[in-house]
Symmetry: C2
Subunit: 211 residues, 2 copies
C-alpha cells in the first residue's frame, strides 16, 4: 500500500482506535459488517470523520451496506504495519520500564519486547519476565542480531537525549519515549513518539478550566 | 482567560511542550527572552505553528524582540489551568498504577496523587509511597472530602468502563485512562484522555512502514 500524502498523527491514532473497535465488534459481538456510524460511536467521533480517515487509503465499504469487519481489520493492520511482527528493545528497567515489560496491551500484538537494556550491574545479566537484560553497551550488537528497529525508552529524563543517540546509532528507527523529555529532533527516517503523562494530564486541567 | 473556540487536542499538547521548553530555557540556560524559532526548535516544529498556537489565547511577544520567558511561562500555566493545584485519585494499584504513584514527572507539578483506590484486600488500608490506599467503594466519600476532580485509571481493560462510571458518579470530571480501553463516551463537562501504549507504538510501525 502506497500512501501519497503525509497522514496526521491524530488520524493514525484514530486508525488504531478503529482497529480496536473492529476487533471488539468481531470477537465480542460477532458482527460481520459495520457502518461508519458504528465505528464513530466506538470512538466518540462522527461517521464523516471515520469515512475521511479511511479515504486516505483507498475506497472501502459499500454504499448502504457498510464495511466488512474482517476485511477492514485486515486493511487497517496493513496500513498500520501490523501484518508483520516487530521486535522491540526496552531501554530502562525502572518502575515504568518494568510495567512496560509486562504490559498486557502488547500480548497478542505485533510487538514483542525481546531484549531489555539497563546500566545497573544488579540488573544486567538477569532476566525480567523471561526477557534477557543486557548492558546498554550491547545495544548495537543485540539489535543487529535480533533485527530490532523499535525501542521503548523508559530511562530518567536527564539521560534521554544521550540514550536516543545511542539507540539511533544502533540502528533503531522508531522510539516510544516515556522518559518525559522531548527536545530531540530525530534524523530523517527515524521517528520519536513522546508519551508524557504530565502533558497528558495537563490536557485534563485545560479542559476542566475552560470547558 | 476566556477561550472562544474549541482548541484541538494537538494544540493543547503542544502548549504543554512549549511550557516544558520555556522552563528549560529559564532554568537551564538562564534565558530571559526567546523567539518563536527557539520554541519551535525545542518541539521540532515551525515558528509559524508556535505563533498560531499562541494566537488563540491573545497577543504575546513583541515584533523583533520575541517573548519574555517568565511572562510566557505564567501565561501558559494560566491557559493550561496550572495556576492552581489539582488533587488526583489513582485507581488501580497494579504495576502500571505503582509506576504512576511514583512518577517523577508529577513532582513539582500542579498534580498530586492524594488517594489510591483498589479492591484487593491486601492493598486496601495500606499506604503506597506514603499515599493511603482506599477501597473503591470509598471513592465518592474521599473525592468529596478531598475535592478530587481528576483520576488516573490504571485498572485492567476489562473493568475500565465500570470504573469510569463509578468515577464519574463520584464527581470525577477528568480521567487519564491508562487501561487500554477507550470506548466510553463521557457526559458533557467530563473528559477522558486515553493513553494507550499499544496505539502509540502502532504509530511507529505505521511510520516505519510508510515513510
Amino acid at each position: 500500500m502506497v500512501i501519497k500524502s503525509k497522514i496526521s498523527p491524530l488520524t493514525i491514532q484514530r486508525l488504531s482506535t478503529y482497529l480496536r473497535g473492529l476487533k471488539y465488534f468481531a470477537q465480542e459481538e460477532g458482527k460481520a459488517s459495520v457502518s461508519s456510524d458504528d465505528i464513530a460511536l466506538w470512538l466518540g467521533g462522527t461517521a464523516a470523520q471515520v469515512r475521511k480517515d479511511l479515504s486516505y487509503f483507498g475506497s472501502f465499504g459499500k454504499k448502504g451496506r457498510g464495511y466488512n469487519v474482517d476485511e477492514l481489520i485486515k486493511t487497517l493492520e496493513d496500513i498500520l504495519g501490523l501484518d508483520k511482527s516487530w521486535k522491540v528493545a526496552l531501554i530502562g528497567l525502572g518502575r515504568l520500564g518494568r510495567s512496560m515489560a509486562v504490559y498486557k496491551g502488547f500480548r497478542n500484538s505485533s510487538f514483542e519486547i525481546v531484549a531489555i537494556f539497563d546500566i545497573d550491574p544488579q540488573k544486567v545479566g538477569t532476566k525480567y519476565n523471561e526477557t534477557p537484560v543486557y548492558h546498554l553497551d550491547d545495544l548495537t550488537r543485540v539489535c543487529e542480531e535480533e533485527g530490532i528497529l523499535i525501542s521503548i525508552v523508559a530511562t530518567p529524563a536527564e539521560v534521554a537525549n544521550k540514550v536516543f543517540q545511542i539507540a539511533l546509532d544502533a540502528g533503531i528507527r522508531g522510539i516510544l519515549n516515556l522518559s518525559g523529555r522531548s527536545s530531540f529532533n530525530p534524523p530523517p527516517h527515524a521517528f520519536i513518539k513522546d508519551v508524557n503523562m504530565e502533558a497528558e494530564i495537563e490536557s485534563l486541567s485545560f479542559c476542566l478550566t475552560h470547558y
